[in-house]
């Protein structure tokens, strides 16, 4: 560490304690183990409707067409190696919880933070189904979402490079 803290007081006393209420407001992240997931739930059918009205304009009718990021892998693509195709939730997302977290915090792009938790569950269900990951009648909630094993999970490895002559 860069600072020499030897002569520092144990505490400077700046800042205030954060209240539980303040943290409840801000602490919106979802962990892969499901920590942070709210009550509520959503279905593929409900998600399909919301998707059509709030998302399709940017991500395409079926999540394939754009103009913005491709979200869905087509049936034809499913047989190919992931490297040869465009990144989608189906082939490049290692955790289903990330989908809930990201949609809730950042989408729709023009009105982030405007969705209800049930809407986010439903959209998550719809997109997971569209990528052939869950069944058409699956119901997604705080218990079921973290259980889902994503197809791309197996590919992810942590960078272990530490410098040195080897190019990796």
């Amino acid at each position: 560490t860069i600072a020499d803290t030897t002569h520092w007081p144990p505490t400077f006393g700046f800042g205030k304690l954060a209240t539980t209420q303040e943290l409840a407001t801000l602490d919106i992240d979802i962990r892969p183990d499901g920590q942070g997931l709210p009550a509520g739930s959503g279905t593929v059918t409900a998600g399909k409707a919301i998707y059509a009205s709030k998302c399709a304009a940017c991500h395409g009718k079926t999540g394939v067409e754009g103009p913005n990021n491709r979200l869905v892998e087509t049936a034809a693509e499913r047989t190919e190696n992931y490297k040869t195709k465009e990144k989608t939730i189906g082939n490049y997302w290692p955790y289903a919880t990330t989908l809930f977290d990201y949609i809730r915090r950042a989408m729709p792009f023009n009105a982030p933070g405007s969705l209800t938790n049930d809407e986010v569950y439903a959209l998550t269900a719809f997109l997971l189904h569209a990528n052939n990951i869950i069944a058409p009648d699956a119901k997604i909630n705080a218990q079921t979402l973290p259980q889902i094993i994503m197809p791309a999970r197996q590919y992810f490895v942590t960078d272990d490079r530490k410098g040195g002559p080897e190019v990796r």
Binding site: I2, T98, T158
Partner: protein, 389 residues
């Protein structure tokens, strides 16, 4: 040295300052504007960033050294630049800590402060163009350098009492993307800063005003801007930016994640497209940097990579900082290729694109590409970027 002439009306006029010098815009003939509150650029200088929808690139070819004027610092954000009132600003630290706390901007500034000159670079900092008509700004303009000042994160970790089992923390911004990244706690203890100043003054809005995380040497996205919250945890959060984005396919069908360090890189910024070169002595100039420490050497080739010479490095060579290099070359007018490669103190040597792809496989995606940049010098003095493969 002063010539005298007789005018029609018989007066000796001061021919030492000739007719031409009396024209309205001779600066020696009329007092200029008085001292002012704020300066501005000369009307003859108009350096600008190169904006796209998602980023804006520093005009590397227009800069003369390693500091980037704040208004030319590259930008990359995922939902635009938020406007944050510094009076309302608060940074929360919670999770695996003894005391969950919040700090106002004034609080942050009261803690012992620290400054360092460091580069920042987006890990997506690589572009090419088939016709070679691309500037250093176009190729590698997503890196800039500033002097950053703030409080060491370790100081705040001490204040809140980070628990021993905390291994990762989430950093969250208050932009419309509510940007989040998971960072190993070790980096927080080592050299992470909460920066509130840049080049002596308050951080600029595009760089995270009023306060940002700053992680020396790491991919820019991890230095979360407009920082509102840090949550200490025992595992990474696997946010969208560290899974769907900022990861890269490597060999054996794998995807590399948490690739934080920026690999050593360099680029010749002069001569470079669109410079029209003249024969004779030329000082080749550029910048080199490494996220893993100091630049130990920059090698320059003026014969398409057949031989390499050691360039002069501008002192002081700082840790994780753009380092300016210069190399004298006499161009005889023949077509050739010039290129530079950086070496860092870990022994790493900047590779060619072929070496990179050989090591990582062909479909490597757009992140962490640091190939040697080659400039083709044509007989007529045109300088073009040579496509990397």
């Amino acid at each position: 040295a002063v010539v005298l002439v007789q005018t029609a009306i018989g007066k000796t006029v001061q021919a030492a300052i000739p007719e031409g010098a009396f024209i309205h815009d001779d600066p020696t003939k009329k007092p200029g504007p008085l001292p002012s509150l704020l300066g501005s650029r000369s009307q003859f200088e108009k350096p600008v960033r190169l904006p796209s929808d998602t980023s804006s690139r520093t005009p590397l070819q227009d800069l003369y050294s390693t500091l980037t004027p704040a208004d030319l610092h590259y930008e990359r954000h995922h939902a635009g630049v938020p406007t944050i009132n510094p009076e309302a600003y608060e940074l929360y630290i919670h999770g695996l800590v003894e005391k969950s706390m919040k700090f106002t901007l004034a609080d942050l500034k009261r803690f012992p402060a620290f400054s360092r000159i460091c580069f920042l670079e987006c890990s997506g900092n690589y572009r090419s163009k088939a016709d070679g008509k691309i500037t250093p700004q176009g190729i590698a303009g997503l890196t800039s350098q500033s002097e950053w000042t703030g409080v060491m994160l370790s100081t705040l970790f001490r204040e809140v009492g980070v628990k021993p089992k905390a291994t990762w923390f989430l950093a969250e911004g208050s932009d419309a993307a509510v940007m989040t990244r998971s960072i190993p706690v070790a980096k927080g203890w080592h050299d992470a800063m909460i920066a509130y100043a840049q080049n002596g003054e308050a951080i600029r809005p595009e760089q995270g005003y009023p306060a940002r995380l700053f992680l020396p040497g790491w991919e820019g996205n991890t230095s979360v801007k407009w920082l509102r919250r840090l949550e200490l945890s025992d595992a990474p959060f696997m946010t969208r930016e560290e899974t769907s984005k900022y990861t890269e396919p490597i060999k054996d069908g794998k995807i590399r994640q948490f690739s934080f360090d920026m690999d050593a890189r360099s680029i010749i910024t002069f001569p470079a497209y669109p410079v029209q070169l003249e024969k004779g002595w030329i000082e080749i100039r550029g910048i080199a940097w490494s996220g893993r420490g100091k630049i130990s050497k920059v090698e320059v080739s003026t014969d398409a990579g057949k031989t390499w010479q050691v360039a002069r490095l501008q002192e002081p060579v700082l840790d994780k900082a753009h380092t300016y290099f210069r190399h004298l070359w006499q161009w005889n007018g023949n077509e050739t290729e010039i290129m530079s490669r950086a070496l860092d103190e870990t022994g790493y040597r900047q590779p060619t694109m072929s070496q990179l792809l050989a090591a990582r496989g062909e479909s490597t995606g757009g992140y962490h590409l640091n190939p040697i940049t080659t400039w083709l010098v044509k007989q007529d003095g045109q300088v073009l970027n040579k496509p990397d493969r």
